[in-house]
C-alpha cells in the first residue's frame, strides 16, 4: 500500500548509553494498522520496552509519537503522545501534550522519537531535519525549565521547540513533568524523573522539510469546512476570551471543587470572591494555543512584573485554590509558576499535599513521621513543601515518591485516606461530577486517572440523553452497540459507554487530530476523520477500520501493563467515593449515576463487569483474551498474556 502523505515513514532511535542515533523506516502496513501517535507508540513499546524494567533504570524507554495529521494545517492537529513505564504507577501508558514540538518533529521528517539508555553526563537531544544529535547540556543542568529553555533557544536558535525538565526531574522526583515551550505539560506519571535518570535535560526540534498531502485540493476543502463551522459558532469568541475559565460557573456552582482531601466542597461564595472570571481577566496578559488550533485555551498571565504561562488556568485554580487553600489569585498564579519552573506536576503535588495535611491533622501521622516538620496548606506552607519535594528534603522525599511510596511509608491508616487509583490522584470526584464516563474511566485508565477517559462534555451536568446518543452517532457507533449502551433508553450504561469514550480519545491521539476539549471536539466527527485521512495519506480506511484501529491500539497499550501483572485488582475505585461528601447548604453529596440513581460498591463493580464485557475481555481478570487479540490481529502479542499468567 502506498502512503502519499501525512506520515514521515521513519523514526529515530537514540541510545544515550551507547551515544548512538539510528533512523529506522516505518513499515506502511504497521503505520495504517496503528494509525500513529498513541497507537504507534504502543507498537513501539512492544518493540523496544522490555518487560519488568525499573522506570528509572536505563532500560526504560521514552517513546514520543506524533500522528499523521500533526504538522498539517488541519484545524487542531497538534497533540503529541509520550509513552513509557511511569515511575508513579509502574504501569505502561501514555500522556498527551500540545505545543509546537510534535509539529517540528513531523516537519523534520519523523513520526516517532525513541529514547533508551542513560547518558553519563547531562545531554540534550537535538532533532533538526535529517540531523539527530546528542549534545552536551551540562551548562543547563540545575536550571529551572524557563531558564534552561531560554538559554537553549539562545544557543541553538529561537525557532526551536523545546521539551525540558526542571530540578524536580533532575532529582528524580516522581511527581514531575516536562514543559513543552515553557507552556504545555507533558508526562504526568514522572517523565521529568525518567529524563533525570537518563541525564536528559531536554529534547529540542526544528523542521523545515514539512508534511506532504496526498490530495491537497480535497484536504484544503475539508479543512476549510471545519474552519467555517468554528468561525460560525457564536460561543468560540467567548471561549477564546476566557480560555478554560469559561467553565468556571459550571464547575463552581453545579459541580463544586473538592476541598479538604475530598471531604468537602469549596465554599461557592468564596470561590467567586477569589477567582471569578472577572478577576481572571485582570490577570490575563494574552492567549496562546497549540499549533493550528482555531479556538485557543492556553494562558499568558501577568506575574511579578513579567508574565507566566499556564496550560489550563481553571485547572490551576482548582489545584492551588481549592486543594491546597491558596485564596489569593496572585498567589495561585505564583504557585503554578513555581511548579512550572521546577517541573512539578500541579495535580500530583496538590493532591498529595492535601492528603498529607489531612492525615497530619487527623493525627494519623505526627512530627515523628515528618521529621519534625509541621505541614500546612496555604501559600507559604505550600511553597515551602514544593521546595522540599523538589529537593527531596525531609518529608518532601516521601511525597516525591507519589502515593504508592507515601502510603507504604505512612501505613494503612494513611492509605485509607488517600484518594488515588494506581498511584495517581483522581481528577474528578464523581460524588460531585456524577459517575459519567470521564469519572468512571479513572478506574480503568492505564495510568490511573483522567482526562484521557472520554470527552469532557460529559462533565457538564444535566445534558439530555439524546445528546449522548448524538455523540455516539457522530463517533460512528453502530446500532447494535447503541442498543447495549442505551439499554435503558433514558440513560446510558456508563461501564459500556466508557469504552467508546476512551477509544475516541485514542483515535484522536493516534491520528493527531482534534482535541479532547469539548470546545474543539464539537466540530469533528468520524466522517470528517475518514475523509481527511484519505485526503492526507491516500489510504482509504473505512469508519469501521478507523474505530477498530483505536480498539487495537488501546488493547496493545493495555497489554504492555498486563504483561507486568496489571489486571482487575488495579482497577479499583477509591473507598472515599462510597462515603458522603459535605456540600454547601448542609447537603450530603453521594455517588450517583449521571441521571441521579444512587450507586453503591456492588453497582460500580457491575459497571466494571459490563465495561470488560463490552471490551470483549475476561471479566474476572479484567484483561484482553486470546480471542480478542486474534480478532484485532495482535497474535504476536500473546506473549503478554503468557507473561501475565506466569506472574499469577
Amino acid at each position: 500500500m502506498e502512503i502519499r502523505g501525512g506520515y514521515a515513514g521513519r523514526y529515530c532511535v537514540i541510545d544515550l548509553s551507547l551515544s548512538e542515533v539510528l533512523t529506522e523506516p516505518h513499515d506502511s502496513a504497521t503505520l495504517v494498522k496503528f494509525l500513529g501517535g498513541y497507537g504507534l507508540n504502543a507498537y513501539l513499546a512492544h518493540k523496544y520496552l522490555p518487560v519488568g524494567v525499573d522506570p528509572l533504570a536505563p532500560e526504560n524507554v521514552i517513546i514520543m509519537g506524533m500522528g499523521p495529521f500533526v504538522g498539517s494545517g488541519a484545524p487542531a492537529s497538534a497533540k503529541s503522545v509520550v509513552t513509557s513505564k511511569w515511575p508513579l504507577s509502574n504501569s505502561v501508558s501514555s500522556g498527551n501534550t500540545g505545543g509546537a514540538f510534535g509539529a517540528n518533529v513531523k516537519w523534520a521528517g519523523y513520526d516517532n522519537v525513541v529514547i533508551k539508555g542513560a547518558a553519563p553526563e547531562p545531554v540534550l537531544i537535538k532533532i533538526e531535519d535529517d540531523s539527530v544529535e546528542i549534545c552536551p547540556a551540562a551548562k543547563y543542568w540545575g536550571q529551572d525549565i524557563n531558564q534552561a529553555t531560554e538559554a537553549i533557544l539562545e544557543d541553538f536558535g529561537r525557532d526551536f521547540s523545546v521539551v525540558a525538565m526542571g530540578p524536580a526531574g533532575e532529582n528524580l522526583v516522581k511527581i514531575s513533568v516536562t514543559l513543552v515551550d515553557q507552556m504545555s505539560t507533558w508526562g504526568k506519571g514522572g517523565l521529568g524523573a525518567i529524563m533525570g535518570s537518563k541525564k536528559l535535560k531536554a529534547v529540542i526540534a526544528r523542521g523545515t522539510a514539512g508534511v506532504r498531502v496526498a490530495d491537497p485540493e480535497a484536504f484544503g476543502k475539508l479543512s476549510k469546512q471545519i474552519l467555517a463551522k468554528v468561525r460560525d459558532n457564536p460561543s468560540v469568541a467567548k471561549w477564546r476570551e476566557l480560555g478554560t475559565m469559561a467553565g468556571f460557573d459550571s464547575w463552581t456552582n453545579i459541580t463544586g471543587f473538592p476541598y479538604k482531601n475530598h471531604s468537602e466542597v469549596y465554599p461557592v461564595d468564596k470561590a467567586y470572591a477569589n477567582w471569578s472570571p472577572d478577576k481572571y481577566l485582570a490577570f490575563k496578559a494574552g492567549r496562546r494555543c497549540c499549533p493550528s488550533c482555531p479556538v485557543g485555551c492556553k494562558d499568558v498571565l501577568h506575574h511579578e512584573g513579567g508574565i507566566s504561562f499556564a496550560s489550563s488556568l481553571y485547572g490551576r485554580v482548582m489545584n492551588w485554590g481549592s486543594r491546597v487553600d491558596v485564596a489569593d489569585f496572585t498567589q495561585v498564579i505564583d504557585c503554578q509558576d513555581y511548579a512550572n519552573r521546577m517541573g512539578l506536576d500541579a495535580h500530583n503535588f496538590t493532591s498529595i499535599a492535601d492528603w498529607l495535611v489531612d492525615i497530619f491533622e487527623k493525627g494519623i501521622i505526627t512530627t515523628k513521621d515528618t521529621g519534625g516538620y509541621v505541614p500546612r496548606l496555604g501559600y507559604d506552607g505550600v511553597k515551602e513543601l514544593m521546595r522540599m519535594v523538589t529537593n527531596r528534603e525531609g518529608v518532601g522525599a516521601i511525597l516525591a515518591g507519589g502515593f504508592l511510596e507515601a502510603v507504604a511509608a505512612f501505613g494503612p491508616a494513611a492509605a485509607e485516606q488517600a484518594v488515588q487509583i494506581k498511584g495517581l490522584e483522581t481528577l474528578y470526584d464523581p460524588r460531585l461530577t456524577t459517575m459519567s464516563t470521564p469519572d468512571f474511566s479513572q478506574i480503568t485508565n492505564l495510568r490511573g486517572e483522567a482526562p484521557q477517559g472520554a470527552t469532557t462534555s460529559y462533565n457538564a451536568l444535566k445534558r439530555p440523553v439524546d445528546e449522548f446518543k448524538a455523540w455516539c452517532q457522530k463517533t460512528g457507533m453502530d446500532q447494535e452497540t447503541s442498543e447495549r449502551v442505551f439499554a435503558n433508553p433514558w440513560e446510558f450504561n456508563v461501564g459500556r459507554l466508557t469504552r467508546y469514550g476512551q477509544e475516541w480519545s485514542v483515535l484522536t491521539n493516534s491520528l493527531g487530530l482534534d482535541c479532547q476539549r469539548d470546545r474543539v471536539d464539537i466540530f469533528y466527527d468520524i466522517k470528517a476523520f475518514e475523509a481527511l485521512y484519505v485526503a492526507l495519506t491516500g489510504v482509504d480506511l473505512s469508519i469501521r477500520e478507523l474505530r477498530q484501529a483505536a480498539e487495537r491500539s488501546f488493547n496493545t497499550l493495555k497489554l504492555m501493563s498486563v504483561r507486568e501483572g496489571f489486571d482487575r485488582k488495579n482497577d479499583t475505585p477509591p473507598k472515599r467515593w462510597f462515603e458522603p461528601i459535605k456540600k454547601p447548604y448542609n447537603e450530603q453529596g453521594t455517588l450517583k449515576t449521571y441521571y441521579g440513581r444512587p450507586l453503591n460498591e456492588a453497582d460500580v463493580a457491575k459497571y466494571l463487569d459490563e465495561y470488560y464485557e463490552e471490551r470483549g475481555w475476561d471479566k474476572a481478570k479484567g484483561i484482553p483474551t486470546r480471542g480478542k487479540l486474534a480478532e484485532l490481529g495482535l497474535e504476536e502479542y500473546e506473549y503478554a498474556l503468557a507473561s501475565y499468567e506466569q506472574q499469577a
Partner: protein, 161 residues
Amino acid sequence: MSKTLLFNSKNCMGCKSCELACSFKKDKVFNPARGRIGPSQLPHEANVVPIGCWQCEPAICLDSCPAGAIFRDEATGAVTVDEKRCIGCKTCVTVCPLGNARIVAGTSKMVKCDLCGGNPECVQACLPGGIVFDEPDEAMLVQRRTTMRELIGLEILKGGW
C-alpha cells in the same frame, strides 16, 4: 490606499495557521519554512508579533532587483516576484529589513507574499484576527512609515500607488 495585510499582535495566538495555509496554498505542502508570512518564533512573552510583507511604496526590494524580477501587481498593489526572471542574487533578501523576501531552501528563487491575488489564504486561516485584509488606517500608516524610516532611512507609504 489599497487593502493589505494588517497585523494585530494582541489577537495573535501563535497557532502558525497562517504559515501553514501559506505554504499549502503556494507549494501544496505544510511547511512554515516555505511560508511567506509568519511569527516563526513564539517568545515567552505576552504577545506574538505576526510579521508579513507591508507591500511598501516605494518598495526597496523592487527598486534593488538587478534582474527587474519584482513588479507591482496592478489589481492588488502587491509587490510580486516573477520567478522566471529571478536570478537568485539575494539582493532583495539583504535589503528588506523585515525579512519578507525569502529564498526557499534547495532553490535559488526568491518567494514573497503576493496577497494571493486579492484573497489572502493566511487571513482565511486566522480566526482570532491576528491578520486581517484591510486598508491601513492613519495610525497604522504612521507606525509603518516611522518604522521603515528608522530601520533603513526609507520614506514609504506616502500616498496611493
